[in-house]
Amino acid sequence: MICAGIDIGSITAKAALVRDQELVDTLVIKTGYDHVKAGERVFEQLLKKTGVGREKVCAVVATGYGRASVGFADKAMTEILCHGTGAHFIDPAIRGIVDVGGQDSKAIRLDDTGQVTDFAMNDKCAAGTGRFLEVMANALDVELAQMGEVGLQSQNPSKISSICTVFAESEVISMIARQQKREDIIAGIHDSAAARVAILARKTKLADPVMMTGGVAKNTGMRKALEKHLGFELTTGRLAQENGAIGAAVLASRLSVGS
């Protein structure tokens, strides 16, 4: 039995296929402006990549910011539930998740069955999210994918005092004008963003072992900064960004068994 999960985020769209409780494959593409097309595209491309016929897919669960625009899904579930299920599927020992995506950052507490028992989300602003890092990478003229590594070279991280993305950007621009080292500014940005996310983790009383998911988990500098603030190491796999889609696919297979 093959089931699919589609996660339409604000920046990227992800798809995952699960066959009999085993992960088949995943795919990530840019969401772009059209959520409906992004869902179709990521699903079709993953089917093509894996050679699975569309008729073989028993059930589809959609998740993420654009979950309501996936017309072919059997059910829409929130990304919080899907990240919980995904993390539990990959490592049943996990009791907490820090998910930093494009527009939201979240802390999610899990019980021993992978059920969500508490969660907190950023609500006042976008500081601490993937979009924040994207804005900063732009201001610093550095590739987003390189940002993590560059920041780790810093010996003397700058201090970013602004919470707000817009104000933080102007603060960064004035640091550039003062010719502070790029790596120092980046390390400062990671520290400031990580501090925001750590507040959410403390609010939900996350305790080791915690998995970091979402696109920002790929940023090593951000992950290290977060570990420093939390006081313990975070688990993260190569599929951190696809974790929500994987969870959705697992929930789809439960849906299929249930019916």
Binding site: Y65, M77, T78, E79, I80, L81, D104, Q115, V116, T117, D118, F119, A120, M121, D123, K124
Partner: protein
């Protein structure tokens, strides 16, 4: 379900406070900003007490007076006043509650746009005998101010009639809430919200009559519905039907509340066999406090826990206005208090001028799975 015709006058009042159908014909209007405003006295003096809500227009003129870190309710109402949208008011009453409301009162008084203005400086601690004496004193002062504005004395008979009228409104709203708790599908959350808000705005005799008619047409079904997805809504104002719609589309029902625009307004009745001023004072002393007041240290937690038990609710959703200090201060202890008693909590922060439906839907849908 309630019919469109039954809902019409309440919808009209919500959409246009001066709608011909529901406005007072002879009474001048005094705006109130909080459920601690002693509406019975305002009515007894011959005025129509009308709760003010923000029209949620963009903040332009209020920006010069109140910074972005003041709550959207206070900023929104000031904007309406400065833009002339409240020119129908004869006056306003500011009970002493939160800091932002006090500052709004100051700006309001300095602008001097309306004929009548009163600060009702209620006690903050409500659990001492001296506070009760002080409360009565303050209400008597307010009575004198209203008598001067109305140009006639408030008689005992006027007070008894006002008490009777507001008790009728309170009794009907409680009956509607009980029906909702027993059979959530009979009244939608959006309709119940409109009935409460409409009653706060419209002429009080009309509100009392129409609510009684509604209650008599609604018959609860004997078999209670299943207990899944029942929550209590807690916060200051919940001023949008959309929140109820988001909650219900996640298969969750609001079966009771602890809101300024809900049970805190109409819970409890005023004793009509004792001295009316003392009876009114008792009601405002004994009603469930909002976080701008103090009674027993954990009284709000205990109240929410007992509401959850009584209405078989698995969770409490805190719907808080951004930058609302009093509610934000209470929230951490309330969350812990409830969770140690097995009641799940969810906090949602909203801004009256902003729509953030996507994030709210995500939270509510996740919470629906947790409870």
């Amino acid at each position: 379900m309630l019919t469109t015709e039954q809902m019409q006058p309440f919808n009209d009042a919500v959409n246009d406070p001066l709608s011909a159908e529901t406005a007072s014909k002879e009474r001048e209007i005094i705006g109130t900003l909080c459920t601690y405003a002693p509406e019975e006295l305002i009515w007894a003096a011959g005025f129509h007490p009308m709760r003010l809500f923000s029209s949620k227009s963009d903040i332009v003129l209020a920006e010069n007076h109140l910074q972005a870190y003041c709550c959207s309710l206070v900023r929104g109402i000031l904007e309406d006043s400065l833009a002339g949208r409240l020119d129908f008011l004869t006056g306003t009453v500011f009970p002493h509650t939160c800091d932002s409301m006090q500052r709004l009162s100051d700006i309001w008084r300095l602008k001097g746009k309306y004929k009548f203005f009163a600060d009702v400086v209620l006690p903050v601690k409500l659990n001492t005998p001296s506070a009760r004496t002080y409360m009565l004193d303050i209400l008597n002062t307010f009575r004198t101010e209203l008598e001067a504005a109305g140009g006639r004395p408030i008689l005992e008979q006027d007070l008894h009639e006002a008490i009777h009228l507001f008790n009728r409104i309170r009794r009907s709203l409680r009956a509607l809430y009980d029906i909702k708790s027993q059979n959530p599908s009979i009244i939608s959350g959006a309709d119940l919200y409109t009935l409460v808000k409409g009653s706060m705005i419209m002429d009080k005799v009309q509100a009392a009559d129409r609510l009684e008619q509604l209650v008599s047409t609604l018959m609860p079904v004997d078999t209670p519905e299943n207990d899944t997805g029942r929550v209590i809504l807690s916060g200051s104002v919940c001023d949008s039907a959309a929140y109820y719609q988001v909650i219900e589309s996640a298969d969750v029902q609001v079966v009771a509340d602890d809101l300024c625009t809900g049970q805190r307004w109409f819970d409890g009745e005023i004793e009509d066999q004792i001295d009316p001023m003392a009876a009114i004072a008792d009601r405002y002393m004994d009603r469930m406090i909002c976080p701008a007041k103090h009674s027993d240290l954990t009284i709000r937690g205990e109240h929410l826990a007992s509401l959850a038990k009584k209405h078989r609710a698995g969770g409490v959703v805190f719907l808080l206005l951004k930058f609302c200090d009093p509610h934000a201060f209470d929230y951490p202890y309330l969350k812990e208090f409830l969770e140690t008693r097995g009641i799940k909590t969810l906090r949602i922060e909203v801004d009256e001028q902003q729509d953030n439906a996507g994030q709210i839907t995500t939270r509510i849908e996740t919470f629906a799975h947790m409870i």
